[in-house]
Symmetry: C2
Subunit: 251 residues, 2 copies
């Protein structure tokens, strides 16, 4: 991680590209993985979009997201077949040319002998002008970075390997800290008192997540802040509120 004294949050969006996610045929495994990864390195994921394999849709979504957030991470659509149109779409979004990149051909050549480096596989060496490559330790075909956009594979194992390559190069903010408090009470029992705690601690974020345990309905209260003292104060207030509510409800 680049060390950083950023006080403004570093933000990100994910753009998932692929008809197979929208049809439900493939269940996305990348959004949750990237979300947790970015949180752990101090980058705030602010939006996710999933779009089909249609160039206009990809261009429009990418341009909307890259204008608003520090980083955009895309997954999917960089394979060797006709429906892999991410690289061409990213080039169109940035208004740059795209062609076979000698660096990418060299990477593919580590895996494929010349007679296998056919027209289809060479599609994977099409890289927008000005982009830097992202190494792929799993299957060689690279991702790439252009501007604030990082283009990665859709196959989870490959995407994860690429994200490990990219992460050390990213500007990161102060990591978001969080405390989770299990209330032992139903969400509706504590909602009013919790809203008062949230109002009294406006600089922390307090979320309430109901769940079912063997003992019945229960609630996790998640307190989040970049400031450890504010976090501790708000968490203490949540704990006191829960004690008070448990006494009131005679639990």
């Amino acid at each position: 991680m680049t060390s950083s004294s950023e006080t403004t949050p570093v933000t990100a969006a994910i753009l998932v590209i692929g008809d197979e996610i929208l049809s439900g045929r493939t269940k996305d495994k990348n959004i949750g993985y990237i979300a947790e990864y970015l949180t752990n390195i101090g980058i705030d994921l602010r939006e996710v979009r999933v779009v089909p394999d249609i160039q206009d849709e990809i261009v429009q979504a990418l341009n909307a997201l890259r204008a608003r957030f520090s980083y955009v991470f895309t997954t999917g659509g960089i394979g060797p077949t006709h429906d892999d149109i991410t690289a061409d779409s990213v080039a169109a979004a940035f208004g740059v040319s795209i062609d076979h990149d000698p660096r990418a051909i060299a990477m593919l050549s580590e895996r494929f002998p010349p007679d296998q480096l056919n027209e289809a596989r060479l599609r994977m060496a099409r890289i927008p002008a000005g982009a830097d490559l992202i190494a792929n330790s799993v299957s060689k075909a690279p991702g790439f970075n252009i501007g604030n956009v990082y283009v990665m594979a859709g196959v989870p194992s490959i995407m994860q390997a690429m994200l490990d390559v990219v992460a050390p190069t990213l500007r990161t903010g102060i990591r978001m800290l969080s405390d989770t408090v299990r209330a032992g009470l139903r969400e509706g029992d504590i909602g009013t008192a919790l809203a008062a705690v949230a109002k009294a601690h406006p600089e922390v974020s307090i979320g309430s997540y109901p769940f079912f345990s063997e003992a019945g309905p229960d609630t996790n209260i998640v307190v989040r802040s970049r400031d450890p003292e504010k976090l501790a104060a708000a968490t203490a207030a949540v704990l006191a509120m829960i004690d008070s509510e448990r006494a009131r409800l005679a639990v």
Copy 2:
């Protein structure tokens, strides 16, 4: 399902609302479920967005999506706590008022005795003016439908129950049919020949999805069409192409 002779596709978007998805703390299970469900009833999912618990973000995304697609399905943010702001945000997006709805209070009263129907739980009865309620067989607190927007819970079991209630009321199109052909070849081996098949069958959609089996890298070719004859013709062309490529590669 409403029977239908629609020839234009019925389209949909999903709007997932929740900081917990963006932080990675909760892994979304609803997108894939709804995607597959809609495909099975002849509705094309065209876009998904995930946004945080911030009213302006919710309003902006909802207005963008409801203008473009036949239906929008939202998940999350309709519980009893201060961070549940979906109903208020939807009312703002539609420019209508929102208040405690007697029908929703009646539903909540089936589960909660009067002394438990506190301020927090009554938040779950706040419904935008003009909306129809969506019954919740799991925990009573309803979702709602306003215009072409269907507001559902984030807890998967509750969302699924609500979707079962909503589905029979939806306009549906001709169901998308699909054939999956396992190539027994690597994606890069067949990419060029597959592109030619796709070009010769422009009215079907052909996707290529690589995967790893015990025997090594392999590829599923998915052919999709609403027309069974066009589907059969394109699938036959894919099978012939694979036979030809296997012979060429002496597999």
